[in-house]
């Protein structure tokens, strides 16, 4: 399946543009946008941890990585990230 891109402005927050390559499970995901995330490099941890995930696992994985790595999100939430990824998987 080709890469799908979904763009969404988080209400009261920032813009998320997520690119997902998906065939039953996630092959790769790229989370882009004008949000803030500290520490910045941890975006790679979120993206890598989603490889192989099914749609139903996405929110759990994002929430877990954010907690485990002590990631601080500004302008987006684990829920909004997961929701846009799931939209791209439909």
């Amino acid at each position: 399946m080709p890469e799908r891109v979904v763009t969404e402005k988080v209400p009261g927050g920032k813009l998320l543009r997520i690119k997902v390559d998906y065939s039953g499970t996630i092959n790769s995901v790229k989370i882009t946008g004008d949000f803030f995330l500290h520490p910045e490099e941890a975006i790679n941890d979120i993206e890598k941890s989603l490889v192989g995930a099914k749609a139903d696992d996405v929110l759990g994985i994002v929430t877990r990585v954010v907690q485990e790595k002590g990631i601080e999100l500004i302008g987006v939430t684990p829920d909004s990230i997961a929701s846009v990824i799931r939209s791209a998987m439909q």
């Binding site: 927050g13 920032k14 813009l15 543009r17 790229k30 989370i31 882009t32 946008g33 004008d34 949000f35 803030f36 995330l37 500290h38 520490p39 910045e40 975006i43 601080e72 500004i74 302008g75």
Partner: protein, 247 residues
């Protein structure tokens, strides 16, 4: 704590990003917290850490008119920085000098910008997450990162803006660059030139006073070590495709 102030200067986009990082490293080793004011020369587009350069920037147009493009190490959005259109500041210091909460630290530093604008007779308000507004319109955007115990916040104060030029450089579909859209940006963004005939130098002096009121500071310059490190970082990271095209 005493601050080092680096007075208004001009630098290219890659070196500018590299200076912020080189100064962060030297502060991590014990140098004075630093405030510097600068302008982008040549004019440039910067994109946020998490943005895709190809999604945000008309690279062909930038190349054609000699506008540099660089990825920042701070999040946030794509910005066109015109040499004659804005003043940029960087605040760099140990994290413990600032509130722990990211929101509160934006509020504190943006407060210094607001004080500076007040010195020009302009009443501005902080608009979370990271903007400053005058009369409900954006005049300043700001972005922050915290690494190795050091906080860096840089931000721009809009002095003038050519909306049509901005749209030609940022990737907005051509059909959106209608008069209606330009009008809508003009409704959302404001510039210092809308409030009086301040020179760039007047603006700098007003901002400097706003940032430093009640603090101890000395004017300084970059050390040779910082300059060397900034050149190294500019060449090894900020000018590189691997960095600018990484997302």
């Amino acid at each position: 704590m005493k601050w080092r102030i680096i007075p208004l200067h001009a630098t290219d986009a890659f070196t500018a990003m590299a200076i912020d990082e080189a100064v962060s490293e030297s502060i991590a080793r014990g140098s004075l917290p630093t405030l510097r004011f600068w302008r982008w020369q040549p004019s440039a587009v910067s994109i946020g850490y998490f943005q895709s350069i190809e999604d945000e920037v008309n690279l062909e147009k930038c190349k054609e008119i000699g506008v540099d493009v660089v990825r920042r190490r701070t999040g946030g959005g794509a910005v066109y920085h015109d040499y004659d259109g804005e003043i940029t500041y960087s605040v760099i210091g140990p994290q413990e000098m600032f509130p722990h909460s990211i929101h509160d630290s934006y509020k504190l530093i943006c407060g210094w910008v607001i004080n500076g604008l007040k010195n020009l007779g302009i009443e501005a308000q902080f608009a979370p997450i990271n903007d400053i507004l005058v009369g409900g319109k954006k005049i300043s955007g700001n972005a922050q990162t915290r690494r190795n115990g050091i906080l860096l916040q840089h931000g721009t104060i809009l002095y003038n803006l050519d909306v049509r030029k901005m749209f030609s450089l940022l990737k907005v579909s051509q059909e959106k660059i209608s008069d209606k859209m330009i009008k809508s940006v003009e409704d959302r963004v404001t510039r210092l030139v809308d409030f009086g005939s301040f020179s760039m130098q007047d603006t700098y002096q007003a901002l400097l006073k706003g940032f430093t009121e009640g603090t101890e500071f000395e004017f300084g310059k970059l050390t040779q070590e910082e300059i060397n490190r900034a050149h190294e970082l500019a060449n090894e990271r900020y000018r590189k495709q691997e960095w600018n095209f990484m997302r």
